[in-house]
Assembly symmetry: C2
Homo-oligomer: 431 residues x 2
């Protein structure tokens, strides 16, 4: 039996008391407000998901219900982003989790029996608008799935030595674009750009003809580190608040033409979508599993005492324009990652690079070994050499009107810990 | 004859009335404050350099002296960064420039004859601490000097086709790390990391053995653009406030081992230094020159009606530990850039990527065609195949204690428009 809340939590909900993911939201304007013309939108504030409701942490905080030693006098839930809370670190995160878990439990009267406070603090999820959970100072994207690295290498550089020699020695990554990270539900305009010419013909310009999704997850950084002070790999978990789903939209034709020698740029920077609810490492603790054995053994700064992943089943669905239902496209799992998020974070700082609260560390596309578990269309259609069929509709790359939906849910014996969805619809390119 | 100010401006000053570069500073704590133990440092505020003084714009603004239509009721100079002012765009920038130029001129009594306001608003430059002029949301680094691209390609990939085919069709760039951009004068700790193994030997770990500077300049973005809405190349100049000097410190051994296939990461992200004074495009107008002819002709979205550069002579000096004077290492010029900053900005947004006020767009290392005009040690020593001599001290790459000093000054007939310096000293790696 899972934990029991006085808030009704449907059996298949992603958000029981064992989860309690954090996000930032604002109430949707009521219809009365919409009719008026000048009311400013209500300010963003932190919240936690429970069943089909959102608990407004600014209300709980203002009511004085965070009474633990770290949060009692803190203004961290009276902010328009989670950054201040992220900076406080795991002791504060655990205190918040335990306070909220108790407050929402079936046998705790404080909130349960206070109708006015309950009404003010528990909002139906359909009546809120989710926003980016944190101000993202920097966004880094890793490349940590071996199957993805091997498949991409084979497609772009041929089957001989598809994985670069360095890949097994360090978690390869590149700096991404922070400004174009958007929240789930934001439409993505098909980018325009230069494509790869054939042979010696000149490059062409136009809408990307190879628009793709990339199935990723991303870590949200908690406390940062000072410039010049690396984080020990065995303490790296204390710098990670939790995980979100991430779609690293990619224009393969733009990317292929631009990426030598300095890496991906415009092929990625037109948009990156994240899911709104940050599932904490504390909630994921129940789904820990061994990470893949690493051979060759990593250098000592990357050798961790506990080399662990999380068993998080991932799915991608596509809903073409006019279709009533989405079709499933792939099933993968976070546990396939060869480099763990703690190794990624330690590597990121080994040169002294400073991380800041709210930084986003993408895992890279997560592909499994099976053909049905590949994390992007580039791999699934082998660069358009074959097609996927979506309930009668063929796909090599994404078409205008396609809605791409990621979801993830850890299934325990008695409860789920889910991530909700990460969605985005492709709009036509500018004329 | 240049413009005349009541503030004494030495003949060789970088900062006459024709320049008026913008920065952010705080007064250095007075010795009395140092003796106390708990006074918080005075808050950062915007300033303008004139001669050996800094004009405190927060004081000028509070005194009501910005009386033009755009700045009259603005709080843009009562901020700890220039971002709000940057967002206001060229009309506000021109209004500020003309107000300040008038206020400081020899025949204008308002400030000249108000001893108390003069004392409050004009601080000796040696009594202020310069800070980052803007909150940098994203930092992008281009690769726009043909000589640099050719030399690096030859060193890393051999003399056949040293410049990748795409280079002549688009301004290649990568996303850099915003968190580790620091202000001139900040020490740089030698990074540690993995180095490139010889043949099949395993990688080594330790302090970088090939620490380098890169002579760059960077544009500071003014008004941004919405996600999905590219900026026209012929309007790109309206999105650029001005230029700073930039040292893109690089660890060549780390970079060489990590950069395939996703580009530079830890080889660069340990520190990037910028000069504190943003010299506006308005001040640089007097030093416009033709940009290099482009062959092949760029695609239409990069074809600009006015294809212009600025004639900005650049110098790099190194002062080894224990030396009394720095030695000159290279002389280059901003005008060598093949891709202009307006082409860079337009390209950056052509896929819909959004820029924000305060974003930093580095030019890439600026090398000229002559051996004495190369913009980094990698080129100057041809990857350590030869040595530079600094007043008796040999250099292949940077050594601990080396202070690297960039400076730039446009020399007009009657006045200079200079950038001051961009400096940083190399400290030993962590043990």
């Amino acid at each position: 039996m899972g934990l029991k809340s006085f808030v009704e939590v449907p059996r298949d909900s992603h958000f029981p008391l064992e989860n309690l993911p954090f996000g930032v939201f604002r109430p949707k304007p009521s219809s009365a407000t919409v009719a008026g013309d000048s009311a400013p939108p209500p300010p963003p504030r932190p919240g936690v998901a429970v069943g089909d409701f959102v608990l407004d942490l600014s209300v709980i905080s203002a009511a004085g219900l965070f009474d633990g030693p770290l949060l009692k006098n803190s203004k961290c839930f009276l902010q328009p982003s989670l950054n201040m809370f992220l900076e406080m670190g795991r002791p504060a995160w655990k205190e918040a989790r335990s306070t909220i878990q108790k407050l929402l439990s079936a046998d705790e009267p404080t909130l349960r029996d206070n109708a006015s406070l309950r009404e003010k603090s528990l909002l139906p999820m359909i009546e809120v608008q989710m926003l980016l959970p944190a101000v993202i100072g920097d966004y880094t994207d890793f490349f940590s799935s071996m199957h993805h690295a091997k498949n991409c290498g084979t497609i772009f550089r041929g089957p001989e030595n598809p994985i670069p020699l360095n890949w097994f020695h360090l978690p390869i990554a590149y700096h991404g674009r922070a400004s174009s990270v958007v929240i789930s539900g934001t439409d993505i305009i098909r980018p325009r750009g230069q494509g790869h010419p054939m042979g010696n013909s000149p490059p062409y310009f136009g809408p990307s003809q190879k628009l793709d999704f990339e199935l990723e997850m991303a870590a949200i950084v908690g406390p940062g580190n000072e410039l010049g002070k690396p984080v020990d790999v065995n303490k790296a978990a204390d710098h990670i608040f939790g995980l979100v789903l991430m779609n690293d939209w990619s224009a393969r034709d733009i990317q292929a033409w631009e990426y030598v020698p300095l890496g991906p740029f415009l092929g990625k920077s037109f948009g990156t979508t994240i899911s709104p609810w940050i599932v904490t490492l504390d909630a994921l603790e129940a789904f820990v599993c061994d990470a893949p054995k690493q051979e060759p053994q990593p250098l000592s700064y990357l050798a961790e005492k506990k080399h662990l992943n999380y068993d998080i089943p991932l799915e991608v669905w596509i809903k073409p324009a006019g279709h009533e239902h989405p079709s499933i496209v792939t099933k993968s799992n976070f546990k396939h990652l060869y480099w763990t998020i703690t190794q990624q974070l330690a590597h990121h700082t080994i040169n002294g690079c400073n991380l800041r609260p709210g930084d986003l560390l993408g895992t890279g596309t997560i592909s499994g070994s099976e053909p049905e578990s590949l994390g992007c269309l580039l791999e699934l259609t082998w660069n358009a050499q074959r097609s996927l069929t979506l309930n009668g509709s063929d796909r090599k790359f994404l078409e205008d009107g396609d809605e791409v939906i990621f979801t993830a849910c850890c299934k325990g014996k008695d409860f789920n810990v889910g991530f909700g969805t990460c969605t985005g619809k492709v709009l036509p390119a500018l004329p």
